[in-house]
């Protein structure tokens, strides 16, 4: 039975203590990630306050359908990840690796759609990178697109890391390198990170696409 339990590492005296410490560590890390995006949200709110009309005008040019589709994709993947955690706790490896792999694939789909969206915006003259043709109606609109690009690409970067982590765990569980339920805490860690990436998007989506 003992291989079902996580290995007890150096500074801990009980597994319960170790698990609690691991989870507290994860939550603190996520809190710091939230503060990172929190700074960005503060920027968005200030900018919105400074240029209310231009922001609404700019937001109306977003591809709401793509954004909404991406929201659905992430919500679905989060649900799958949650199922994976449940399965991991009860020690079933197959559904765990399956759900994690599917979520990673959904993440890839998100990035694909996002790339398509950037491409369309580029063609519509909405992408504010230097050297690209743009025609903004106002400085406020330009600012909106600047923030949009920074926020969504930072989110995409986090998503990419999340995909790598989920993919890795799917493979580790599949190949029995991580044994369940011993590795459930580790799986939960990866899952919690994915939920965070999802939650950040759930806030970015209304703030950027539905600002009216």
């Amino acid at each position: 039975m003992s291989q079902d339990l996580p290995r007890l590492k150096e500074p801990y005296s009980t597994r319960g203590q170790q698990r609690e410490a691991d989870m507290l560590g994860v939550y603190l890390f996520l809190a710091s990630e939230i503060m990172l995006f929190g700074g960005l949200f503060a920027v968005i709110f200030v900018a919105h306050y400074l240029h209310p009309e231009e922001f609404i005008a700019a937001s109306k040019k977003m591809h709401v359908a793509i954004g909404a589709a991406n929201t659905m994709i992430l919500l679905t993947s989060s649900a799958l990840v949650a199922i994976a955690v449940k399965a991991a706790r009860s020690g079933h490896a197959r559904p765990v690796s399956l759900c994690l792999a599917l979520s990673a694939l959904l993440g890839v789909a998100f990035l694909g759609l996002k790339a398509y969206e950037y491409w369309s915006e580029y063609q519509e003259g909405l992408l504010p990178l230097p050297g690209l043709h743009t025609d903004f109606a106002s400085p406020g609109e330009h600012l909106f697109m600047n923030i949009y690009l920074v926020a969504t690409s930072l989110h995409a970067l986090h998503l990419t890391i999340g995909i790598a982590v989920l993919g890795l765990f799917a493979w580790l569980v599949h190949s029995r390198r991580v044994k369940l339920p011993a590795g459930a805490t580790a799986t939960e860690t990866a899952a919690t990170y994915w939920h965070l990436v999802d939650i950040i998007w759930i806030f970015l989506f209304p703030v950027l696409y539905l600002a009216r």
């Binding site: 150096e10 500074p11 801990y12 005296s13 203590q17 609690e20 410490a21 507290l24 560590g25 603190l28 890390f29 809190a31 710091s32 990630e33 503060m35 990172l36 995006f37 929190g38 700074g39 960005l40 503060a42 920027v43 200030v46 900018a47 400074l50 240029h51 231009e54 504010p128 990178l129 230097p130 106002s138 400085p139 406020g140 609109e141 330009h142 600012l143 909106f144 600047n146 923030i147 690009l149 920074v150 930072l154």
Partner: protein
């Protein structure tokens, strides 16, 4: 207990055993070496600045060279010395020992955080080699985002990376303090040093990311023209200052809170009395950390922010003085009728209290809108923050070094030399920075390298003081280095102090405690039995 197998990265004295160690005590020593290295570089830059200011024309450096010298001085001292110094050296070494744990919660993360620090340091050194930056440590836009011809993006990357190291350390400390306290060590029995590191870690984890995003935005603006702070594209340069100071005011408490923790330990050990009002001193750390998040606007009184905002920030800033005052009063009360030993750690603690009070009182002066409008961006501000951060934090750092050195390395150093150093630092420090209060009050702006001739006398005094100060900072290299090779062996408790760290041998064995201790009493349970003391 079995002996460590030879492949154990924590065993032996090979380079490999050091670079792969997960022992918090060894990682502390790695940090000691690396922060000392950056202290020397930052100090050299300061020497250059002070030498240039000897003459009103600033003959030594070009305008550009001067800007680069003080910027590198600030960046290196703030992010590579003051912020990591006490937490990463002494926090790392002492927190597990003080709470009766075998190590930090995440030993490998701890090592990673050192490597991240080194990587950030390498970036800074590259910046130094390719010519530096001229924006000042505050990176104000639009200078940093549009006009500077220094290596802003590289330096932003360096600070971003080292910030990540801070976050990891803070996270590790919080989890350790929550989950690894020995049986019986309730929150009310934790040493004050641990309390202050707990408060510091909260700031590290929650404020540093805001700095990270700010640096990302500057880099995006410089590299890709994504002008979030640029009025031409609807952005707002003031927004930068809000974001920057939202981190950087709490950051000044990152630098000073660990110092306050050190002083509480030194004062109790020197007076051989329990700390007066233990729970107030502990609580005031948390109060400082929390209020510290709401005062950033006092750096922006003359930036054009609304008058109402300024008034609120002024009021909140005055509120910070309350918990800081509590500490000073309680240390004084602790010393009252104490059986004081004039050892080096105590002298450094006294020096800290003196400088901290001057720095804090001038902080209150600056928090008054009417005074700040007069002295903003003058040498008065420079003197204020040097009193607190350099006078205060570095005194505490040296105090900690002299107090825990025997514990860390198992050797004593000649105490008289320590006393001489403490006195010279105190004197050199005041000679360097007191004239700067006057300079500022007379209207000498900061960051200028040519100045009106009537300011020269005060500048020369300041430069003379800095020479003495620099010399005094180097003294410990001599006698602490000497102690490593020829010092006499230190006992487990050379100062006759309380605390779990003094119950284990000096230096402590790899696993700290043969058996995890059970704590039964309150901390600072002085007086101590006769036979324990010297």
């Amino acid at each position: 207990m079995t002996a460590n197998p030879p492949s154990d990265p924590n065993a032996g004295h090979t380079i490999r055993s050091w670079l792969l160690t997960t022992d918090h005590k060894r990682i502390a020593v790695l940090y000691l070496v690396s922060v000392t290295f950056f202290f020397l570089i930052g100090g050299a830059a300061a020497g250059l600045v002070r030498a240039d200011l000897l003459t009103p024309e600033g003959d030594l450096l070009t305008n550009e060279g001067y800007n680069r010298a003080f910027t590198l001085h600030g960046v290196i001292m703030v992010w590579f010395f003051l912020i990591p110094s006490i937490p990463n050296v002494f926090g790392n070494f002492l927190i597990p020992l003080m709470i009766g744990a075998r190590d930090l919660a995440f030993p490998r993360l701890n090592l990673l955080s050192w490597y991240v620090y080194v990587l950030g340091g390498l970036f800074t050194l590259i910046v130094l080699l390719v010519g530096g930056v001229d924006t000042g440590w505050t990176f104000y836009t639009p200078l940093s985002s549009m006009f500077s011809n220094g290596h802003v993006v590289l330096v932003a990357a360096a600070v971003f990376i080292v910030g990540f190291s801070s976050i990891l350390t803070g996270l590790n400390f919080i989890v350790t303090i929550h989950k690894l306290r020995a049986p019986g060590m309730g929150w009310g029995r934790m040493p004050l040093f641990v309390w202050s590191h707990y408060a510091t870690s909260i700031i590290l984890v929650l404020a540093t990311p805001v700095l990270s995003i700010t640096l990302v935005l500057i880099a995006a603006e410089r590299l890709f023209g994504l002008g979030i702070f640029d009025p031409a594209s609807g952005g707002d340069p003031l927004l930068f200052q809000h974001l920057f100071w939202f981190y950087s005011h709490p950051a000044v408490y990152i630098m000073v809170l660990p110092a306050l923790g050190v002083i509480s330990e030194l004062v109790a050990a020197a007076a051989r009395k329990p700390v007066f009002g233990y729970s107030f001193v502990a609580g005031s750390s948390i109060a400082i950390a929390i209020i510290g998040f709401f005062v950033w606007g006092h750096h922006m009184f003359v930036s054009g922010q609304s008058m109402y905002a300024s008034a609120v920030f002024s009021f909140l800033s005055l509120a910070v003085a309350v918990p800081s005052g509590i500490k000073v009063y309680n240390w004084t009360a602790t010393l009252y009728k104490g059986n004081i030993l004039l050892d080096p750690p105590f002298l450094f603690a006294m020096s800290f209290i003196g400088l901290f009070v001057v720095g804090g009182l001038t902080g209150i002066a600056l928090a008054m809108l009417s005074i700040d409008v007069h002295v903003h961006d003058t040498y008065f501000v420079v003197a204020h923050f040097h009193y607190i951060m350099v006078g205060g934090t570095i005194s505490a750092y040296f105090g900690a070094l002299h107090f825990w050195w025997p514990k860390m390395f198992g050797r004593m150093y000649p105490l008289t030399w320590g006393r001489i150093t403490a006195a010279t630092i105190f004197f050199g420090f005041n000679l360097t920075f007191f004239p700067q209060f006057i300079l500022g009050f007379l209207g000498m702006p900061r960051r200028y390298h040519v100045y009106a001739p009537e300011f020269q006398t005060l500048h020369v005094l300041s430069s003379a003081g800095s020479t003495l100060l620099g010399f005094a900072y180097l003294l410990p290299f001599v006698y602490l280095g000497y102690s490593l090779v020829a010092g006499k062996r230190a006992s487990a408790n050379p100062w006759g102090a309380r605390g779990l760290e003094w119950t284990v041998p000096s230096p402590p064995p790899k696993h700290n405690f043969v058996e995890i201790p059970t704590v039964t009493g309150r901390p600072y349970d002085y007086p101590i039995d006769k036979e324990d003391s010297r």
